[in-house]
C-alpha cells in the first residue's frame, strides 16, 4: 500500500495529538512532513509557567522528542517558516524548499495580543507565549528587579507568580474589577487577589494602561490612566491571544476570526484541515487545551476516512500557581431561574459556589479546596440530575452515600501483634515483615509465615495486608462481601470481630465501615450470630436480627399458622408427655399431628396468638422447645441400643440423651442434627448427620459432615474413641469449632469441605489442649443459651418490631 503525504504546519499540542492518534490507528500509512516556526518540536506549552517559576524543567514538558519523530518517520523542518501554500498544486513552500501534499493540516496556533501603547516596541516589553519568552523572563529576573504584568488572566498571573519566585518585585495591572473575570466570580477573585498579594505581588484592578516609558531604548515604567507610574525592568503583556491566520488567509482559505472549519475540521478546501487555536468553528475560537485535543481526535479520524464530528464541550480551568487552588467550569453568570449554593470557610480560605438551573449543575467556581473538582466537572459535563443530592451537593461526593469507609482501614489499623491467622498463630507484624521482605503474593506469604495455610478463613485479611503494603502492585482477588451493606466477606468480618474485639452490632457497623445504618436482612442475622458466638458473655442475642421462625420460636407455615415441636430427648418420650401433647392438640384445635424424622411430634396449624398458651401448657408437662426452627441443635436421633436391641453394643439412647442435654439451646451457623446408632447396622442413620456416632464393641466411631437434604453426603470419620465421655467431648469440640469458624448458613459438611477434615482433626482429636478449650468455650456459651425460649416467652410475651426487613427467610 502506498503512503499518502501529509504536511503539517505547526508543531504545537493540537497537531501533535492529531499525529499521535493518526500513528496509533494507521502506522506507516502516512508520510508526514512537519513545519514549525519555533526551532523545536511539540512541548507542553501550558506548563511553561512552572518552567518560569523553576518548578518544572523544560525537558520535563517536551511531549515529542527527536526519537519520537524518528520512530514515526516524521520529516521535521523546525525553525523554518512556511512562505505560502499553493492550494491548486497542493504544495507547501517553505524557506528551504517545497513539499507536495495529499492532505494538509494547518496548526499555526495563535499570536499574543500586543496592546499598541506608546512605547510597546521598547526593549524589555515582551509577550508571554513560548519558550523564548519564558527564557527571556528567566534571564531578566533577578532579586530586586521590577516587573509589570499587563493582564490579570491565567497567563498573566502565572507569569507574575513565577517572576516573584525568581526574586522580582512584581505588579499586575488588570483592566477589569477583579482578577480572572472570565473564569472567576468576584468572591473567588477576591481570595485569589489576597493570596497573590500575600506573596508580595502588587495588584492593580480596574486599571487602564496609558503609556510605556523608556530610557535608552529600554523599558523604564508603565504609566496608568490615573498617572500612577509603575517602574519596571520588564513589562509582560498577557492580555490574550488571537488566531494566527495570516498564512491561511494569504493562501485563499476562508477565514474570519480564525480559519473556518466544519465539524470534521475541514477548511474551505477539501484537502486542507485545520486544528487548534488558529481555527474558528461555529463562530467560536479556542484557547484551552481540552477542546484542542477533541479537535485533534476528529482530525485523525477525518484523515482516516472515518466519520467524526467535533462537538465543543464544557471547559474547566486551572491556575498553575502553587498554593492558589482554584477551579472553574461551566456557566456561573447570574440569570433568571438560576440558583446558587455557596459554601465559605474563612479560616481555611475556602469558597465554593455552585450554580444550578432546572435541577442540573451548570457552573462551579471554587477556591482553596478543589479536591472534588473532577466530580463537579463530571456533573456539569454529563448534565446530571442533581435534585436528589441538592441538599448535600456542595459537600462533594463523600456525602452522597457513594463513598464508604475503606475496608482496608480496619486491617491497617490493627496493631502488629494482632493475630491474623488463628490456626497457626500468625500475627500481623509477622505477615507485614514477610511482605516487606519480598513475599508479594498470597502463596509466598503462606510459604513464609503459614498464615492462611490451614483453614483459609483469614485469606481475605492476608490479601488485604498485601494490598495495604503493596498498593496497586497487588491485585486484590474479587472477594464476595456478605451483602451490599459492606465490602467484607463473612470470614473477614468474623476475624475482625475477634481481633478488634468488636462486641456490639454498633461497633461492627462503625469499625468495619457498614454502608447502611444497621444492616439488612442478610447481614444482621450473620453478624448477630458471629457476635454471640465470639462474645457469649458480653453480647446478648438480638431477636430483631433473626429470621421470622427464630423470632417466633416456631416454624411459620404457608397458611400463616405455626408448627410447634416439643423436644423429646434422644427420641424418648412417656405417656405423660404424650397426654400433654394430645391435650394441647385438642385444646388449640391443632389440625395435624405428625411424627417427624427426628423422632418427635410436630403440632402443625397452631395460630400465632395461641403460641404462648400452648407453650405454657406443654411447659407444665415438662416439655421444652425442640428448636425445630433454629440455626442450632435440632435433634439427636437414636436407636434403642443395648437396652432393648440384641445387636446393640453400647447405650446409644443414653448417649443421645446426654448429647442433646448438653447441646440444646446452642446457636450454630446453621442447623445441626446428630444421631447415635447402637451398632454398625446404623438404625439411627447416623452416617448422614452433621455428627453421627456409631457404637461398636470397642467404643464409638465419631464421624462428621454428613448431609441428607438437597445434597446427600456420607459422614467422614473424625475419630474412634473408647469411652462415652470421649465421644461426647469430640462431638462438643467439633460443634464449638464449627461455631467459631464457619460462615453463617454453611452446614457443617460445607464448612468441613472448605477447611478440610485434617484441619478439624488436628484441633478436635490430636490437640487435647485445644479440644479442652473448645469444650470450655462451648460450656461458657451454654451458660447463657441452654434454656427454654418458650418458658421465657410465656413469662413475657414479647412482640418484636424488626428494624430491618427480616421477613425473607434465607434459603436453606
Amino acid at each position: 500500500m502506498s503512503t499518502r503525504k501529509l504536511v503539517v504546519i505547526g508543531a504545537g499540542m493540537a497537531s501533535g495529538r492529531a499525529l499521535e492518534h493518526l500513528f496509533e490507528a494507521a502506522a506507516g500509512e502516512w508520510d508526514v512532513t512537519l513545519f514549525n516556526a519555533e526551532p523545536r518540536g511539540n512541548y507542553n506549552r501550558i506548563m511553561l509557567s512552572p518552567v518560569l517559576s523553576g518548578e518544572k524543567s523544560y525537558s520535563e514538558i517536551v511531549i515529542h522528542d527527536d526519537d519520537w519523530y524518528a520512530q514515526h518517520g516524521v520529516t521535521c523542518r523546525f525553525g523554518e517558516q512556511v512562505l505560502r501554500i499553493d492550494t491548486e498544486a497542493k504544495v507547501v513552500e517553505g524557506e528551504n524548499g517545497h513539499v507536495p501534499y495529499d492532505k494538509l493540516l494547518i496548526a499555526t496556533g495563535s499570536s499574543p495580543v500586543i496592546i499598541p501603547l506608546p512605547g510597546h516596541d521598547l526593549d524589555g516589553v515582551i509577550a508571554y507565549r513560548d519558550l523564548e519568552d519564558t527564557n527571556r523572563m528567566i534571564d531578566t529576573a533577578k532579586p530586586g528587579a521590577k516587573a509589570v504584568i499587563i493582564g490579570g488572566g491565567l497567563l498573566g498571573l502565572e507569569a507574575a507568580a513565577g517572576l516573584r519566585l525568581r526574586g522580582m518585585d512584581v505588579s499586575v495591572v488588570h483592566l477589569n474589577g477583579h482578577l480572572m473575570e472570565r473564569q472567576l466570580d468576584e468572591s473567588a477573585g477576591f481570595l485569589l487577589r489576597k493570596s497573590l498579594e500575600s506573596r508580595g505581588i502588587d495588584i492593580y484592578c480596574g486599571a487602564n494602561s496609558r503609556e510605556i516609558l523608556g530610557q535608552d531604548g529600554k523599558v523604564r515604567a508603565l504609566v496608568l490612566d490615573d498617572g500612577t507610574e509603575l517602574p519596571c525592568d520588564l513589562l509582560v503583556m498577557a492580555v490574550g491571544i488571537r488566531p494566527n491566520i495570516t498564512l491561511a488567509k494569504a493562501s485563499g482559505i476562508a477565514t474570519g476570526r480564525g480559519i473556518h472549519v466544519d465539524d470534521q475540521m475541514v477548511t474551505s478546501h477539501a484537502d486542507i484541515l485545520s486544528v487548534g487555536e488558529c481555527i474558528e468553528h461555529d463562530g467560536a475560537v479556542f484557547g484551552l487545551v481540552a477542546p484542542l485535543y477533541d479537535q485533534a481526535k476528529v482530525v485523525a479520524q477525518t484523515l482516516l476516512g472515518e466519520d467524526a464530528t467535533f462537538v465543543p464541550k464544557q471547559l474547566s480551568t486551572k491556575l498553575k500557581v502553587t498554593g492558589c487552588d482554584l477551579f472553574s467550569a461551566g456557566d456561573f453568570a447570574d440569570g433568571e431561574g438560576r440558583e446558587d449554593i455557596v459554601f465559605r470557610d474563612p479560616g481555611r480560605g475556602v469558597y465554593k459556589r455552585l450554580v444550578i438551573e432546572a435541577g442540573r449543575l451548570i457552573g462551579a467556581v471554587m477556591y482553596g479546596d478543589t479536591s472534588d473538582s473532577n466530580w463537579f466537572f463530571g456533573l456539569i459535563r454529563d448534565n446530571t440530575d442533581i435534585e436528589e443530592m441538592r441538599e448535600t451537593l456542595i459537600f462533594g461526593p463523600a456525602y452522597q452515600g457513594s463513598a464508604s469507609l475503606d475496608p482496608l482501614s480496619a486491617v491497617a489499623a490493627l496493631p502488629r501483634e494482632a493475630e491474623i491467622c488463628g490456626c497457626n498463630g500468625v500475627c500481623k507484624g509477622t505477615i507485614a515483615d514477610a511482605i516487606q521482605g519480598g513475599a508479594t503474593d498470597l502463596g509466598a506469604v503462606r510459604a513464609q509465615t503459614k498464615a492462611s495455610a490451614s483453614c483459609g478463613t483469614c485469606t481475605g485479611l492476608v490479601e488485604q495486608l498485601l494490598q495495604v503494603s503493596l498498593g496497586d502492585a497487588f491485585q486484590m482477588p474479587t472477594a464476595q462481601p456478605i451483602c451490599a451493606c459492606c465490602d467484607l466477606s463473612h470470614e473477614d468480618v468474623r476475624r475482625l470481630i475477634r481481633s478488634q474485639e468488636l462486641k456490639s452490632q454498633d461497633a461492627v457497623w462503625q469499625e468495619l465501615g457498614w454502608k447502611t445504618r444497621n444492616g439488612c436482612h442478610v447481614c444482621r442475622p450473620a453478624v448477630n450470630f458471629y457476635l454471640l458466638a465470639d462474645w457469649p458473655l458480653e453480647y446478648r442475642d438480638d431477636p430483631q436480627s433473626r429470621f421470622v421462625n427464630e423470632r417466633k420460636h416456631a416454624n411459620i407455615q404457608k397458611d400463616g399458622t405455626f408448627s410447634v415441636v416439643p423436644r423429646m430427648w434422644g427420641g424418648i418420650t412417656n405417656p405423660a408427655e404424650l397426654r400433654a401433647i394430645a391435650d394441647a392438640a385438642d385444646k388449640y384445635n391443632v389440625p395435624t399431628v405428625k411424627v417427624t424424622g427426628g423422632q418427635r411430634i410436630d403440632l402443625l396449624g397452631v395460630k400465632g396468638e395461641d403460641l404462648p398458651h400452648i407453650w405454657a401448657d406443654l411447659n407444665k408437662a415438662g416439655l421444652v422447645s425442640g428448636h425445630a426452627y433454629s440455626k442450632g441443635l435440632r435433634t439427636v436421633k437414636t436407636c434403642v441400643g443395648t437396652d432393648h436391641c440384641r445387636f446393640g453394643t453400647q447405650d446409644s439412647t443414653g448417649l443421645g440423651i446426654k448429647l442433646e442435654k448438653i447441646l440444646w439451646g446452642s446457636w450454630t451457623p446453621h442447623k445441626v442434627k446428630l444421631a447415635v446408632s447402637g451398632c454398625p447396622r446404623n438404625c439411627a442413620e447416623a452416617t448422614c448427620k452433621d455428627v453421627g456416632i456409631i457404637s461398636v464393641d470397642s467404643g464409638y466411631q465419631v464421624s462428621v459432615g454428613g448431609a441428607a437434604g438437597m445434597d446427600v453426603k456420607e459422614t467422614e470419620r473424625l475419630g474412634d474413641v473408647a469411652t462415652e465421655q470421649e465421644a461426647i467431648d469430640l462431638s462438643v469440640a467439633f460443634i464449638q469449632l464449627y461455631r467459631e469458624n464457619a460462615k453463617y448458613l454453611d452446614r457443617p459438611y460445607k464448612w468441613v469441605a472448605k477447611v478440610g477434615l485434617d484441619w478439624v482433626k488436628e484441633r478436635v482429636v490430636d490437640d487435647l489442649g485445644e479440644r479442652a478449650r473448645l469444650i470450655v468455650a462451648f460450656d461458657l456459651s451454654q451458660s447463657i443459651y441452654r434454656k427454654d425460649p418458650w418458658a421465657e416467652h410465656v413469662q413475657s410475651a414479647q412482640a418484636f418490631q424488626p428494624v430491618a426487613d427480616l421477613t425473607l427467610e434465607a434459603a436453606e
Partner: protein
C-alpha cells in the same frame, strides 16, 4: 526500569525514624536504619519524655530542631550514633493543631564527600524568612551563604513555600536563578530542592527544605501529593529512573494523575494514618526503590499534602 537496582546508595540522610506519642512518651514506631542494626536496636529500646532527647526536644519546643554534633548534647543515643558514624540529626514534629501526632527524625553522617542540605527557615523581626538552623554536610560555603540570606514572602524556595503554604519541588537549583544562594548551590552541586511548610502551634512559620546533590542525594525520587478530601493525587514529582512524574493537561482535572487511596500502598499508609511513614523494602515501592519516607503536611486541622522521597 532501565538500570539495575542499586542496593547501596551513599545518601545524605542515612537513618530515618518515626516516633509517636504513647502514654506520655515518644516511642519508636518505624524506621529505616539503612543497615545500621545496632543503632536501630538502640532506638527501639529507647523512649523520650517531652523535652528529652532530640525527639522530645522537638515536641517540647513545638518546632523542627537541628542538632549538629552529639557529644555533650541532649542527644540520648550518643554511643550508638557514634558507632554508626552518625553526627547530625533533624527532628521534624508533625502537629495536627496543637496535638503532636509524631516526630520524624532524620540522621546524617559526616564526611568530606557528603553534600546536601536540610534547613529550617523561620520569620525574623523584619518579616523575612531567615535560616533558623541547618545541616549541610561538607557544603560549607553554601552553609555560610544560607546563613546570610533572607527571603521575602513569595521569593526563592523558602519564600515560595511560605507564601503558597504548600510544598514546592524546585529543579535545576544552581542554574537560572540569580540569587547569590543559587550560585552557591550550583557550586556545591545541589541540583534539586523540596520545601514544605511545617505546621506547629503558634503563629511563627517554619519551612523545611531538603536540597539534594547528585553524589550524595537526599533521594532519587521526590513526590508531592495533594491529600485533600481523603484521597491523594500526585501533583508533582521527579524520578531519576522514570523522569517527570506529574500528569497535567492544564485544565484542572488531572484525569491521568496517579492516585492513592487510604491505606493502600505506601502513600495510602500516610494518608490513612495521618503519620509520617518510613519503610525500607522494595515491596510495593515504585521503580524498585528500596526505601521510602512520607511526611504529611497539615493546615487548619486537615492533611493537605504528602511529601515523599525514595532511595
Amino acid at each position: 526500569m532501565d538500570g539495575p537496582i542499586e542496593t547501596e546508595t551513599d545518601t545524605f540522610i542515612q537513618v530515618a525514624e518515626v516516633w509517636v506519642p504513647k502514654d506520655g512518651l515518644l516511642v519508636y514506631a518505624a524506621g529505616d536504619a539503612n543497615g545500621l542494626g545496632a543503632f536501630e536496636e538502640a532506638s527501639r529500646g529507647t523512649s523520650f519524655a517531652k523535652g528529652e532527647g532530640l525527639p522530645g526536644k522537638a515536641w517540647a519546643k513545638g518546632r523542627p530542631v537541628v542538632l549538629k554534633g552529639f557529644d555533650g548534647s541532649y542527644f540520648k543515643r550518643v554511643e550508638a550514633a557514634k558507632e554508626a558514624g552518625l553526627s547530625a540529626a533533624v527532628a521534624v514534629p508533625v502537629f495536627d493543631g496543637d496535638t503532636l501526632k509524631a516526630v520524624l527524625v532524620v540522621l546524617c553522617g559526616d564526611d568530606a564527600n557528603r553534600i546536601g542540605a536540610i534547613e529550617v527557615w523561620t520569620e525574623n523581626r523584619d518579616g523575612l524568612l531567615m535560616l533558623d538552623d541547618g545541616y549541610y554536610g561538607a557544603a560549607d560555603e553554601f552553609e555560610f551563604v544560607s546563613q546570610h540570606t533572607c527571603f521575602p514572602r513569595g521569593q526563592g524556595l523558602p519564600g515560595g513555600v511560605w507564601a503558597a503554604d504548600a510544598p514546592i519541588l524546585m529543579r535545576d537549583l544552581g542554574s537560572g536563578y540569580k540569587f547569590i544562594r543559587a550560585s552557591a548551590a550550583g557550586k556545591a552541586g545541589l541540583t534539586s530542592g523540596i520545601g514544605l511548610p511545617i505546621r506547629v502551634p503558634g503563629a511563627k512559620p517554619y519551612i523545611l527544605t531538603l536540597l539534594s546533590a547528585l553524589g550524595t542525594p537526599i533521594a532519587r525520587r521526590f513526590e508531592i501529593w495533594d491529600a485533600r478530601g481523603g484521597k491523594a493525587v500526585l501533583i508533582d514529582g521527579v524520578c531519576e529512573r522514570e523522569g517527570a512524574l506529574w500528569r497535567d493537561e492544564g485544565d484542572g482535572t488531572r484525569a491521568d494523575a496517579p492516585r492513592a487511596e487510604m491505606w493502600k500502598g505506601h502513600i495510602g499508609q500516610v494518608l490513612g494514618s495521618g503519620l509520617p511513614v518510613v519503610m525500607r523494602s522494595a515491596a510495593g515501592l515504585p521503580a524498585s526503590y528500596g526505601a521510602f519516607v512520607g511526611l504529611p503536611c497539615y493546615a487548619s486541622g486537615v492533611m493537605t499534602h504528602i511529601v515523599a522521597w525514595y532511595i
